[in-house]
Symmetry: C3
Subunit: 371 residues, 3 copies
């Protein structure tokens, strides 16, 4: 075989290579942050705390990291503004970036050093382009992609191989559609949207009218609209509306294997974690978080800022900012209190049996109880 151990080893770091070099001063400018220590240090990458080299920048999340400063070789560190220990870090030769939101700064520095990597296909000759295709600047369209008639795409759009884009779809600027994604006809997608592989947008909603023992298909005539800055995970399914639109608001992020039925609205900046399922005509507010494997029954409303715990079953409306858990989903604190009692039920049952004995004036009820 042509594959050697070295081949496996080489590829290990493939995604970690960066040819980008920035001085600590440039990074401070990029972040709009203060900088303590050496402003001219050259940084060439980002790394986790314990795996850093002197040319890496890393994240020091809290004071616990101070105790293990000898574990990192990082030349530069991002810390919270409130961090007590900046002087120690500088004394140890680090360049220090105190910021308001360290995790967001860390994410932005990673974006700086590791811009998205895509193969450069230009406009592949092996892609199928439909009639009246209107294409923005610098397209990057892979082999065997299929673009339907009357499609319009913005600038710098990346379309991976085996993507199908249905008739009349509209995509904004800087959209990335990974491999094996299906985009149904009429879908509207904003700018800076990322769709991970294997996802289906614009499949028919699950609409059937009972007619005796059989089911008559209700044609699904609406579309899916995905607003700016959305990221859709791998192998999601988002159905087109019966009439009108299924709407994914701007800034929404979905994890893998999320299902969104017809006529659902997901408000701006909400997070849907893996394997969430949302039934038809549900309205989800802004900045909502649905934890993994949660289901939401049809026609419900989840208020702005609500958080629903994992594997919950939402069976009625949820107010703004509420924290719910369980199946059926209920206020998290009540659910916790109930769960605490549930866990002690066998013992509670024994106490009831004992009470029954005592009340009956017997110390031995004679009952043989298996629980």
């Amino acid at each position: 075989m042509p594959v050697t151990d070295q081949n496996y080893k080489d590829s290990d770091d493939l995604n970690m290579k960066s040819n980008i070099r920035k001085s600590t001063g440039q990074i401070a400018q990029y972040l709009g942050s203060n900088l303590l220590g050496d402003t001219g240090k050259i940084i060439t990458g980002v790394a986790p705390f314990e795996d850093s080299s002197p040319h890496d920048i890393t994240l020091v999340g809290d004071v616990h990291f101070l105790k293990k400063l000898d574990k990192t070789l990082a030349g530069a560190v991002i810390v919270p503004e409130s961090f007590k220990g900046v002087e120690g870090l500088v004394a140890h030769g680090r360049s220090v970036f105190p910021v308001k939101n360290p995790r967001a700064a860390w994410a932005m520095v990673m974006q700086l050093f590791y811009p998205p990597f895509h193969p450069q296909w230009g406009m592949s000759n092996s892609a199928h382009k439909g009639k009246n295709f209107i294409c923005g600047k610098d397209p990057n369209i892979g082999p065997f992609a299929v673009i339907g008639d009357n499609v319009i795409i913005g600038d710098r759009v990346v379309i991976y191989p085996h993507v199908y884009i249905g008739e009349g779809a509209v995509l904004g600027d800087d959209v990335t559609i990974y491999a094996n994604v299906t985009i149904g006809d009429g879908t509207k997608i904003g700018s800076r949207v990322i769709i991970q592989p294997g996802t289906v947008i614009g499949s028919d909603g699950f609409g059937f009218a009972p007619d005796g023992e059989k089911w008559t298909k209700i044609p699904q005539l609406g579309i899916v609209q995905i607003d700016d800055d959305v990221e859709i995970g791998a192998s999601n399914t988002i159905d087109r509306a019966t009439f009108g639109k299924t709407l994914i608001g701007s800034g929404v992020k979905t994890d893998n294997q999320v299902h969104i039925a017809h006529n659902v609205t997901v408000g701006d900046n909400s997070l849907l974690v893996a394997q969430v399922g949302i039934a038809g005509s549900v309205t989800i507010g802004k900045h909502v978080i649905l934890a993994g494997q949660t289901g939401v029954a049809e026609h419900l409303t989840i208020g702005d800022g609500a958080i629903i715990g994992p594997a919950s079953g939402v069976a009625k409306d949820v107010p703004d900012k509420a924290v719910y858990s369980g199946a059926p989903a209920q206020p998290h604190r009540h659910w916790l209190r109930v769960q605490n009692v549930v866990a002690t039920l066998p013992e509670l049952k024994k106490r009831i049996l004992k009470l029954e004995s005592l009340v009956a004036g017997k110390t031995d009820s004679g009952e043989s109880e298996k629980d």
Copy 2:
């Protein structure tokens, strides 16, 4: 960028365009229904109650709609036969179709005005056709579809781009396979079957024999058979049988992300809602409804006409026509009674504590209880 606000707006109505014109008399004939009011009115589309124009037909489901008749401009309405208020509608200039099953009639009128839209590829030169491919009349096969050796398909079959059809598969007439679907070798599909995008039919069943710490693959030698008038949702997985067949009966409809394991039988006209998972060798009766996220353990039987509530865990057989809920699934009424008590458990526990105090002859048990 070449995408304008007008582009987004234009595409909004893409799927709603219909060039079909029918008189109300023609619609009555198509539905086989009575018609009151103008029989010569021209109808050009179907719309929801509040979004209708005078050339639209809409649905008036019950008398509550009567109160808001001023909210619709629809020129024609479908109503239940029992509807009290037909005269009022006719007096307001509507053509009225009283029918036994309004939702089914509504679905059929939508089918009349909005026949399925598919790009017209004919037999694409960019598709790959295997040896001994036998193809019916009027095929519509998209670019980069791959059809294996010895495949037979009926008339008017639509195969979207990036579909893979394995060796020896047989498809009936009027079948539609959307993009990025995989059909394993030997799969049998009836007529008028629709398979939404991203679905996998005929993957290997999950069969492994333990051999010490390791697992030995049990080859999966059977097939999947899908009967007439089935619709399979997006991103389903239906495994081939170990021996024999996994069988999806006629008229079955599945929602998105449904998983059906090897050797399962799903009876005619059953509905499987999104994210349902069915383990191996389960037999599901006819006209069963499994609500979303429900799981069924292996080798069980679910009787004809049974209904299983959302996110249930079916752990033993379910009788005909039973309504079950919960995990483990149990008769719905019992489950409701149990859930009602569960919700009050913290309060019940306090009552038990109080009883214990009283029985012990004390009013203060001295116990510090946190629940």
Copy 3:
């Protein structure tokens, strides 16, 4: 239409055809097992107990089969070493293979008679090969497969149509990738790995840093590594690590629609049943079984040999060899005891009411209770 009833019937047995003929003596040699009865009998296939012909070999799992020996015509049978009844089988003209592990032997005999079937594409001209593609012996690469730059694959690799293999991926020998699979850049795959259709390997992990109301993408720089002898089911999603690798140990088998988040490690020979979801940075031990629809919360550890029941919600670490069930997951025996009491809660509540009446010195509490 060109499809006849005979076409449907013909294809029924497509996968069951085997041109392989072996004597019972050859099979004993292959299994390394004893053989009683005729050693020269020719066997041409494997079949279930009741569907066997005299040239088939079948499995007799336990003594219950002895009572219905007249139901099988099989010429050869695999039995457990401990099986009491070998003489009866031999007397009835069967060749008998007593083995330590009958199911594993049965699986191996099936592998012998039914080696994996794949179309023979060789290196399809319609596949897209990137720069510096290093390809082992006897490749079998289907039409419209796309292989990125700097990919290395071993000998006898099968790549179905519409597979996308990202830049720098490395695959070992005897790997099979079914249709419509996406393999992200940098993925490392060992030898004898099978990936069922529609699966996504190496999508971005779900990593976003909160920044006010918005979410900033955390670039996902790591890879996915899949070791030898792994089988991944259909429509799985396995995310790349943020840094480092998401690791699927050797011999792991996953069912369909399994989700594995970034930085997860799955230990050797573990089984993940359908629709399991594993959150980020979870460590799963060796030879663990997660039953269907189970979820595991982030950063947890599940010990070697643990078994988690179906639809469980793992919310804290699980020790080695533990058997857990429920949501939240807990020791299975405790969960069973709790569930038994839960099922009787309405009756328990009545008993509490009765106690309250008795203790209050009344026989009728006057309370009207609906549960």
